[in-house]
Amino acid sequence: MDFRIEVVTKYLPMLLQGMKMTVQLTSIAVTAGTIIGLFISLLRLSRFKPLVWLARAYVDFLRGTPLLVQIFLVHYGLPRLLGTNSISPDISGSIALCINSGAYTAEIFRAGIQSIDRGQMEAARSLGMTYAQAMYYIILPQAFKRCIPPLGNEFIAMLKDSSLVSVIALRELTQSGRIMLTRSFRPIETWLTVALLYLIMTLTISQLVSYLERRFAKDDHGE
């Protein structure tokens, strides 16, 4: 097999540009997803039935349909809905990933919050704290800690799934790979390099997550 390293070096700057886009896209998706997810999970656990249904519908719809379809729906459907011209892929891609990530994160938070012993909420309420105070000071700090590993997994999954927005020509890493391929006609060099760049990112994240996990585990012991 002849692997032409000079092909890789030639297109690497372009791939790194794409990689930067992937990182940005994923960071936005996970950050917004965390906020959306926290909000949805609190609705889901609230006492108001309509809000619970709303939260469930959100989560079920987004987890029960392919992300690819959701991307199409946002990119081609949203402009129709708003009666505007087409949206730039950067925007629609980000929106689709944020909304999708929110659904998965909501489930992570819900599980985390529900894993906290009922006695914690009861102790807080018995001191006269409101539901919101008990959530904020007692339940969420404990739940967050337990959510770090699954949130890390979600981050990694989102990073890989973000490659799907290449279908709307958003120039993230996979899309940059496609462009490299059409120009170089070297599939092995192209896709191996792209794969390697994804691997570097996912490994970095999992390192970061296990570091955070260790830090928080230490906090727990009061050291």
């Binding site: 018995s126 006269g128 727990d220 009061g222």
Partner: protein, 240 residues
Amino acid sequence: MITVNNLVKNFNNLQVLRGISCHIKPQEVVVVIGPSGSGKSTFLRCLNQLETATSGEIIIDGVTITDPKTDLNAVRQEVGMVFQRFNLFPHMTALQNVSLAPMKVRKQSKKEAEDLAMSLLQRVGLEDKAHQYPEKLSGGQQQRVAIARALAMRPKIMLFDEPTSALDPEMVGEVLEVMKNLALEGMTMVIVSHEMGFAREVGDRVFFMDEGLIVEEGKPAQLFYNPQNPRTQAFLSKIL
């Protein structure tokens, strides 16, 4: 201090409290005993509305807390609760556990709340453990912190749900000692406990509950040694 009229509590189809009525005077110490599943915990949890009553009326210090319009958060500030499994906040030190509610609910300054917390920890003999996290404390110590935490809201009434039954035997004494001092200082207390010695020494009255009703009540000596109801007799013969 506490008046309960015909309190009923259902969980779905299960009737757990079937019409409880009682009156507890200020500074009185009432010990509640009864077989497992008789509704002791549920009764106690209705007294601070951790469980909402299905029907009936509970009046605490003149406030009808079963009235849906009552501000329960305000009521709960006056009614402290201590749990069987302590339920300390594991992510906070003993001091933080005790000072949190005074700060966030009573809106005291951090300094004020921590001074108060420190004096309460001193009172339960744990000032040297103020900066420890709960998991570093023994069960008895955790329960004493939990008592200090409840006291920090300066409640008028304290509820205890089997405060010593999750403890190793050698730690029961230290917790009962704290509770006894509270009683001597005049705290109104409702205690679910099967510590007979404690009930006799500290209790003013004992309620025997069975199947969701207060079947018999009386002075500790009378109820323990001369029970009138056959069900009380059967229960006491099993545990004494």
